[in-house]
Amino acid sequence: MTGTASNLPKNFFSDSGKKTSVLRLFRNHFLTGLCIALSLLTLVPLFSIVFLVIQNGLPLLSENLFTQLPPAPGLDGGGFGNAIMGTLVMVGISLGFSVPLGILAAIFVNEYASGSWLASTVRFVAKLLTGIPSIICGVFAFAAVVMTTHKFSALAGGIALAILILPTILLTSEQALLGVPYAFREASFGVGATPFQTIWRIVLPEAMPAIMTGVMLAVARAAGETAPVLFTALFSQNWIKGIMEPTASLSVLIYNFASLPYAYHIKLAWSASLILVAIVTLSNILAQVIFAPKHQ
């Protein structure tokens, strides 16, 4: 390149004054407007849902909701203490199964066998489990528990929910373990600790807050799910007597009461929605708050 003046375009500088064509500019602004409008459109249904849940759910909110049983069809008064209790019991059962299993498997995948064929298989299976519709967890628990014990029960509902949240716990625990800096392990090995001591005394405590995040997210999911408990725990008008009995839950109560022709039952369904959304939101916020410290 000799770079003589004749190589430059004649109107090299005059071009800069030329305006971008009106059509292009118009199209640019139009698309920006469209994009913003579509994004804001999402606010409408969300506000509608939140507004209606609060508006219809709030009037009934009192301690009666938590302490009393649902009224008979056509009657007013009462609450759904049994459903709140049932939801808590089933979420508890599901955590009892899936938390130990999920965390142990995450430790195996990330600490003992990372990079192995088995580890990638476990990850793949967890991914597949997240893709399975929640109702399939219910179908499985129906086949495995309800059909063998011949009883709809809180246990069956809890097992269905456990399968649903297992991948959440496994995958978030794995991320939590990955978040622990490798230097921690080297330091532990450096002072002569065994792999077992390193994992259980150093890595796991360090990863615990992030693992708890996964657990809280799992609680939020399990509490809100209806399909897996619909025909495993069924429903009950009474207080839970044992985990081998049909059990009420908030979500099934909403489903059952939503289509009843009684005004009071529909109000109860809205109140149950309010409490359910509150539980889910609270667990989600807790998850974010616990996750806040360290390594991220």
């Binding site: 920006t32 969300l46 893709g131």
Partner: protein
Amino acid sequence: MACFLASILIIILLAFIIGEILVNAWPAMSKFGLGFISGIQWSPNRGLFGVLPVLIGTAASSFLALLLSLPLGLAIAIFLSEDFFPVPVRQVIRFVVETLAAIPSVVYGLWGIFVVIPLVQQYGAVLAAKFGFIPFLSGPAYGNSLLTASLVLALMVLPTITAISRSSLVAVPYTLREGSYALGATRWETILRVIIPTAAPGIVASAILGFGRAMGETMAVAMLIGNSQRLSWSLLSPSNTLSALLANQFAEADGIQVSALMYAAAVLVVLTLGVNIAGEAVLRRTKKATAGLG
């Protein structure tokens, strides 16, 4: 050792789930064979079990939901990944979309019954009166309809589509934008001709995974779709989906009906697993593709 067992247990669990469903579905499988899938009658009283209308309902509602939510989700993803607005405003929209994902399905159903059904009934009647000659819009217009279920489903899969599309848009290297701007392209010429084509595999993956989610969604659909096994061209008439069928009939079923429902569940598992594996495969290729561009 316990960790090893836990891992093995998780693999066995998936096999056990599929196995248990297949074993219980076997009586229906051997009795009805593939006629189960092509049959158009589902009446347990007469021992007739065919899921074709339900399969069509599943496909139609998921497809319609995707059609509604893909443009919306893509618009939000662009909104979130471009700098039209300062970060706090974008964070609010992101929070809104994440909140949509957190609302339980059954609450969507309750909201749908009292908000979307009356709307669809009212405007559906007008549509049917004016455009009834189009088979998709022929009357009579019902509130519990394919359209109602699809509208709510669209809202429910929106977070999936937005999240995956956004992450693939953000993954487009900044140098590509700079190059495009340097050539004199406007912002939207850059978005439409450079950024979206580069992120296209990720957007396709988001659509596939959103479709998979829509197929599996149960409660909102069961509350809104009308649960009718009759075949109809109209979006305004009741329909049914595999998951809604399971939700509605399992608790009261016995004998061969349980087995037939297990068969339907097996079909649902095959369909959703297939769609999800396809989506994940596309997503994996996206990551490889954009990794080379940085």
